[in-house]
């Protein structure tokens, strides 16, 4: 008893002492103020729209403790280090040391004193959060989670911090050094170690996935328990070490022995928990590796096609017991001696029968090899029944992806969500085709060819039994009899999904489609927010579906669409073989609980905000109109375009594309395959499912970055399509490359067949081949018969060759013409491809009224200055009006005739060296009517490309060999000390106005000069210690006029400007100011200063110089009073 009494006593007075320290008071008052405001801002009815957090009720304690824990971990270090220093400093401590208590009691008392103080603070802050939680109109309260997060996040962090601080203070004996060491570790955790090695180093649980679902709980309790116990036990072990090292004569030998035993026990606990944490991580890697190796062994084997599958499944808590009766067909050229299937490796096959005859089978990992005892010839069919039982191993699902919160972040605000691919628990089940919960005749990943996919369109039937009170959900309409749920989808499907849970069901018939909503009790918050739409919902939804069908030129192929609520942890990784994510299944979308991760799902707050905006703008809208607007925005962003990405360090935080319905219009109903070009289906899919979404604009929109098309062309400049695929690119790279390649291929089809002809025919062809897999060799034959050309021969270069065409455009003219008493408009321009490979570009013409409010910018166009529009507002977009193919070194004059007055032509160079790849040319200076002039709507081959304006001129651009950026040595002292240089840095970036590069960074903008790549380099203004140079051989001595190119981007941000102020005086100044060129000539070196604001947009004369030596040189330094210095191109023109 005296053991506890002593601990309690020491703790009581330690808490009291710390409570009175200014450091703690400052922290707690600051923390209380900040957290109170945060709670009001995030969770209260008057707070902002942070639906992701509001939807998950456990996010209240999680957010509060997550943020508090970071501060707390640091303050604890300070206070813990302070206690030993204080004991040493205070002479009055000695009287306490002579009291009868063991060192362990004293140290534990001190530890508990600090812990309870912080827990008290946590409790106060949590109660503020709880109050907001209770008064929030949209949130439910998860009381248990308050305690859970306190124990999970705070206690282990504090104990571990205390333990480490105590021991370090004993060893180092210097509070400042101890504090710095521990602060360093905390920073290391937050910025470097947080996700590494399966979170084993993340002592603050900074990045540990801890979001708790209202449906499925944490879903990773084992990992959480192990990881947190690791730090709890380690902390206690270190506290024991402190007690042993403590500078006070121990009370007795027995106490030392007890302390030592506790140290050993805590260490063993920490080792076990650490091993458990590591094992979760390594088992995941091992399982994935095993799946890949098994797949590697079978990727060249032939699988049958499953035509029908009738699955009977019993849900038995954490396992299932099932049988699948399959009808298979051999569509391979070779006979099949074995029937190969893939089944989740944790599902044990109990038997295979064929016609009441048991078949022998082998199991290799997830592969089932059934031995039918006969050969199945091409075109023959067979049937068999596979019985199996067990659990589901989720690591099987995406074997090429590791669980890394760094490379695949999945978060709500700062809260990391555990990624789950399947659920099989007593109360909830979610099994998607990706988990292979039923036999699948194909592999989930082809290691040698990750873009390959085998798609079977199978007619499924499913019969499910689960425990009473749970509802089964799958594709198709449900029938319930004798405790069984039966599903018989009307259409063949690419895969079957099963969810079982305490679902509530709503249904709505709109048009020919029945919409089914499966949600959990209390999660239908949207009913209240969107109550005014109740009556018009069917029309609204069928209207949205009609728009989708129009966009994709195809009908929605299923009779139902189920929206199924699933735990927020359900997450699918992107695949190389398809752009379709597992959140969207045939006739089904798996939506996160309470739509938590979806942008714009906080309808209530959005509607309130909209109303406030209306009042501000004196607008009058009815409630119904507002709700309609909010709902349509949500639907548009979630299911149609998915354009609202949030990025951090270039990685998408949220992925609205996960729920896009585009896959229903291609991937779930059509399939093209090729052994030679396995990526073909992904290419078709990317092109055909591409939503009509606006281009991604640059950050804050004032400095446009490269488009996805441009980025893809940059990848393809370095490697062929085949090589890009082989390099297994991450993130959006693959999608970008597939898009470019797909666009190129379909432009080729359209160029050969005619745009409209091809589009109409291909739409009919796709509909005629719904739910069938087509070999592209057959497609080639069909196109050849229909249109008289074969695309197959093009595919070899398309796939394997990396050379890109490069296009130059010049001599744009536009004139009014009279044709048959009608005023029409004739546009002509010349296009050249100077490269050794052929290429395609398409042209679209924008017509309409004056483009109100647009800015104009001048660009170099074939040596001439033309003004381009940088904003397209006020114009009507039209479809592609012409596709042009240019053979190597070919030049054509292109003619277009429009009925409406052209405003702009846009040339998309598709797969080419041109950057930017889309060139927008405004059509100004339209010459007046000329009678009886012949129309020219077509192409005319020219003998040679237009020559330069002046044959005596030499131009060296920043992309040319004569340009040098010198040594890209860092100028920031720390970077220089670390030997950082930027020679390898070639990627184009946008011009940023903050954190300016201290090296010369290439940047692409339409206003800059270039043959194909309109680029320049820029750096931060400095003292002249960095320079770039342009050097060229001089053909003949003499006087030369030397010019520098100054591109003036119209969207460039101005410093000190008043927003919207058009007054020149108030527009602020440009970030570029004086530019210092050094011109080398016979007279020596002369420095010429060019003032950016006064410079011409284009070539600016530096002066006339005599050059007799072999080479001429101009240097630009970073000396400037401006924020940035931009260098582009230099031109030498021989003077007469």
């Amino acid at each position: 008893m005296s053991f506890l009494h002593n601990i309690r006593t020491v703790a009581q007075y330690e808490s009291r002492t710390l409570r009175r320290s200014w450091f703690f008071r400052l922290f707690s008052v600051g923390g209380l103020v900040i957290m109170t405001f945060m709670n009001i801002g995030l969770f209260s009815p008057v707070g902002g729209d942070s639906w992701g957090l509001q939807a998950i009720s456990s996010s209240v304690p999680y957010v509060n403790l997550y943020l508090l824990n970071i501060g707390q971990a640091i303050v604890v270090i300070f206070l813990a280090a302070d206690f030993l220093r204080r004991d040493k400093k205070l002479d009055t401590s000695e009287v306490l040391y002579t009291r009868s208590m063991s060192n362990l009691e004293y140290i534990l008392g001190k530890t508990w004193g600090i812990i309870r103080l912080f827990l008290f603070l946590d409790a106060i802050i949590l109660s503020i959060g709880l109050l907001m939680n209770i008064i929030s109109t949209d949130m439910s309260v998860d009381l248990l989670s308050y305690l859970q997060y306190l124990l999970i996040i705070c206690v282990p962090t504090i104990v571990f911090s205390l333990g480490v601080a105590f021991v370090l203070m004993q060893v180092i004996r210097n509070q400042a050094v101890t504090f710095m060491v521990l602060l360093g570790y905390a920073a290391l955790d937050m910025f470097y170690l947080y996700y590494r090695a399966g979170w084993i180093f993340d002592y603050m649980a900074f990045n540990l996935p801890l979001v708790k679902s209202g449906i499925a709980g944490f879903g990773n309790s084992g990992l959480i328990a192990n990881q947190r116990l690791l730090y709890l036990f380690s902390g206690f072990a270190l506290v024991m070490v402190t007690a042993l090292l403590f500078k006070r004569l121990p009370q007795s030998k027995l106490q030392r022995v007890v302390t030592t035993i506790l140290l050993i026990l805590c260490s063993i606990g920490a080792i076990f928990a650490g091993f458990g944490t590591w094992n979760t991580h390594s088992a995941r890697i091992r399982d994935k590796k095993q799946v890949i190796e098994t797949n590697r062994a079978f990727e060249n084997r032939k699988f049958p096609v499953i035509e029908t599958a009738s699955i009977d499944l019993v849900h038995k808590g954490k396992t299932i017991e099932a049988s699948a009766s399959l009808t298979i067909a051999n569509e391979n050229r070779e006979d099949l001696e074995t029937y190969l299937f893939s089944l989740n490796p944790s599902l044990r096959v109990t038997g295979i029968e064929s016609g009441n005859r048991a078949l022998e089978f082998k199991r290799t990992g997830h592969i089932i090899e059934a031995l039918p005892g006969k050969r199945l010839a091409h075109g023959e069919k067979d049937s068999l029944k596979i019985s199996y039982t067990g659990a589901v191993n989720e690591e099987f699902c995406y074997p090429d992806y590791s669980e890394s919160s760094k490379s695949n972040p999945y978060m709500i605000a700062m809260l990391v969500i555990n990624k789950r691919q399947a659920f099989l628990t007593d109360d909830f089940v979610l099994l998607t085709p990706e988990s292979h919960w039923y036999p699948v005749a194909g592999l989930n990943y082809y290691p040698s060819d990750p873009a390959r996919i085998k798609v079977d369109f199978t007619r499924y039937k499913l019969r499910v039994k689960s425990r009473d009170g749970l509802t089964a959900v799958s594709q198709g309409r449900v029938k319930k009899d004798e405790g069984h749920f039966s599903f018989a989808p009307e259409e063949p499907l690419t895969g079957l999904t099963l969810a079982i849970g305490n679902y509530m069901i709503d249904s709505l018939k709109a048009g020919s489609v029945e919409y089914l909503s499966y949600h959990f009790p209390g999660n239908d918050y949207y009913r209240k927010s969107l109550s005014a739409l109740k009556d018009t919902l069917p029309q609204l939804i069928s209207g949205i579906m009609r728009d989708l069908e129009t966009d994709f030129s195809a009908r929605y192929p299923f009779s139902t669409l189920s929206l199924v609520e699933v735990p927020v942890q359900f997450y699918s990784f992107p695949r190389m073989s398809t752009q379709t994510r597992a959140e969207v299944q045939p006739a089904m979308v798996l939506l996160p609980e309470k739509l938590s991760t979806l942008e714009g799902a906080g309808f209530g707050k959005r509607i309130t905000r909209q109303k406030k905006r209306m009042v501000r703008n004196n607008e009058v809208l009815t409630d119904k109109e507002i709700q309609l607007r909010v709902f349509q925005n949500f639907v548009q962003n979630t299911f149609i375009t998915g354009e609202q990405f949030r990025y951090r360090n270039g990685v998408a935080w949220n992925e609205p594309v996960r729920y896009r319905l585009g896959s229903s219009f291609y991937f779930f109903k059509n399939n093209f395959w090729s052994d030679e070009f396995p990526v073909i289906n992904a290419v078709f899919e990317t092109h055909l499912q591409k939503a009509k979404a606006p281009e991604q604009s640059g950050f804050f929109g004032f400095s446009s970055s490269l488009t996805e098309n441009d980025q893809a062309n940059l990848y393809l400049k370095k490697a062929s399509f085949r090589d890009v695929l082989a390099s297994n690119p991450l993130g959006d790279t693959l999608r970008q490359v597939l898009t470019v390649k797909g666009d190129y291929l379909f432009n080729l089809f359209r160029e050969k067949a005619g745009i409209d002809k091809f589009d109409i025919w291909f739409r009919d062809y796709m509909n005629g081949n719904r739910f069938r897999s087509i070999n592209i060799a057959d497609l080639n034959d069909t196109i050849s018969r229909k249109f008289g050309f074969e695309f197959y021969p093009f595919l070899e270069d398309w796939f394997n060759r990396k050379d890109q065409p490069g296009f130059s455009f010049s001599r744009l003219t536009a004139s009014e013409i009279i044709v048959a008493d009608r005023t029409r408009y004739q546009i002509t321009f010349v296009a050249s491809n100077a490269e050794a490979v052929s290429g395609l570009f398409n042209i679209s013409v924008r017509t309409g009224a004056d483009a109100g409010g647009r800015d104009n910018a001048s660009i170099n166009f074939g040596g001439e200055r033309v003004t381009i529009s940088v904003q397209g507002r006020g114009m009507e977009a039209s479809d592609i009006s012409k596709i042009v193919m240019l053979a190597p070194h070919e030049t054509k004059r292109i003619g277009l005739v429009t009925d409406a007055q052209p405003r702009e032509i846009r040339i998309n160079t598709l797969f080419s060296m041109n950057l930017p790849g889309v060139i927008a040319l405004p059509v100004s200076n339209i010459s007046k009517k000329r009678e009886n002039q012949a129309e020219f709507d077509g192409e005319e081959l020219l003998a040679s490309p237009p020559g330069p304006a002046n044959s005596h001129e030499i131009i060296v651009d920043n992309e040319d060999p004569g340009f040098s950026r010198g040594e890209q040595q860092a100028v920031i002292p720390l970077k220089r000390l670390l030997g950082i240089n930027y020679n390898g840095r070639q990627e184009y970036q946008e011009i940023r106005m903050w954190n300016l590069p201290d090296y010369w960074q290439p940047v692409v903008k339409a206003e800059y000069f270039g043959k194909y790549i309109l680029s320049a380099v820029y750096t931060t203004g400095g003292k002249g210690d960095k320079s770039i140079s342009w050097t060229t051989p001089v053909p003949s001595p003499g006087y030369y006029n030397i010019y520098c190119y100054v591109g003036k981007p119209a969207d460039q941000v101005r410093i000190g400007s008043n927003e919207g102020d058009q007054d020149e005086e108030n527009r602020g100044h440009s970030p570029s100011q004086d530019m210092h060129y050094k011109v080398y000539s016979d007279e020596g070196v002369e420095e010429i200063t060019v003032d950016y604001d006064n410079a011409e947009n284009g070539w600016n004369l530096l002066g006339k110089y005599r050059l007799t030596s072999d080479s001429a040189r101009v240097v630009l330094t970073n000396q400037s009073t401006g924020r940035v210095v931009v260098g582009d191109a230099i031109r030498w023109v021989k003077a007469d």
């Binding site: 005296s2 009291r16 002492t17 400093k89 009055t92 009287v95 306490l96 009291r99 009868s100 004569l249």
Partner: protein, 297 residues
């Protein structure tokens, strides 16, 4: 209760031999340790209260080695160190309550009552809610005394307890200790203020340079000095001469000169009158004559 100190040595890591073969024995009542600064008193105290280990030797309390039975010793111990100035952020009563709780007083009600009683006893009741750090030097000392007494310790070790106390407080403190000796308590008092010893201690030891140079009762110490303390009436010239040759204990200016007391083995002349020594005279005589003579021998 019997405390025996047997062959105790303490050598610090820097080679300082602080205690040299100390052998002492004393029982219930007050035992005084007298000696100049650096004599080793505090080292001995710190070993006695288990803050420090001896290099060799043992201290037995009722026959039990305190290094092997620290728990038992600490349960019966009250300690006031020489330096007692810096407190954590606790109020006066809180510090006392903390000490009381650690002294084994588990009943909160009784503890609070005892805290107030002791605060009253040491004259701090009025400042019970003042932060301990804000107390004056004397008050801190009194608080130290109170905390040493809380929990009814059977052994009280007080190191220089009256340093910084004014005469009234010193008397009050001595009285408190005297009262405690009535309750079967052993008090070990270390001091360099001779007056503290004379009024209260039954036994005492004189420490010098780590060695016990005298051990016995204060009366014995005084007896040893009998016949060696003289009073002289001197002119200024005589005074200068005497100052050179003898240890002057006290000097009082009188008409036409000085009245001084000196210690000396032999009468110093100048019509010296032998006086009865007090313990202070005895301490000076002992330190200046006996020890120096021993060293010279």
């Amino acid at each position: 209760m019997k405390i025996e100190i047997l062959g105790l040595n303490k050598i610090y890591p820097n080679g300082n031999h602080a205690l040299k073969d100390i052998n002492l024995e004393f029982g219930t009542g007050m035992f005084g340790l007298l000696g100049p600064n650096g004599a080793g008193k505090s080292s001995l105290m710190r070993i006695m209260v288990t803050l420090m280990k001896p290099t060799s030797g043992t201290i037995l309390v009722d026959g039990k080695d305190i290094q092997k039975n620290r728990k038992e010793l600490r349960q019966m111990l009250g300690y006031l160190p020489q330096d007692f100035r810096f407190f954590t952020a606790l109020k006066t009563w809180e510090f006392l309550d903390y000490s009381g709780a650690l002294a084994g007083m588990k009943n909160r009600k009784l503890r609070v009552s005892e805290v107030d009683r002791l605060l009253d006893q040491v004259g701090l009741l009025e400042v019970r809610d003042r932060m301990a750090n804000k107390l004056s030097g004397g008050m801190k000392r009194r608080l130290g005394i109170a905390q040493a007494l809380i929990g009814n310790p059977r052994i009280i070790v007080v190191d220089e307890p009256t340093t910084g106390l004014d005469p009234d407080e010193r008397i009050r403190f001595r009285n408190i200790l005297s009262q405690l000796t009535q309750n079967d308590v052993t008090i070990i008092l270390s001091t360099h203020i001779v007056g503290d010893i004379s009024s209260t201690c039954q036994g005492m030891a004189l420490l010098n340079r780590g060695e016990v140079v005298f051990s016995g009762s204060p009366e014995n110490l005084v007896r040893n000095a009998g016949g060696h303390v003289f009073r002289l009436n001197l002119s200024t010239e005589q005074y200068e001469s005497v100052k050179e040759r003898y240890n002057i204990i006290s000097t009082i200016p009188v008409d036409n000169g000085w009245e001084v007391q000196v210690v000396s083995d032999d009468p110093p002349g100048f019509n010296a009158i032998p006086v009865i020594p007090n313990i202070e005279d005895a301490y000076v005589y002992f330190m200046e004559h006996k020890i120096k003579a021993t060293i010279i021998d």
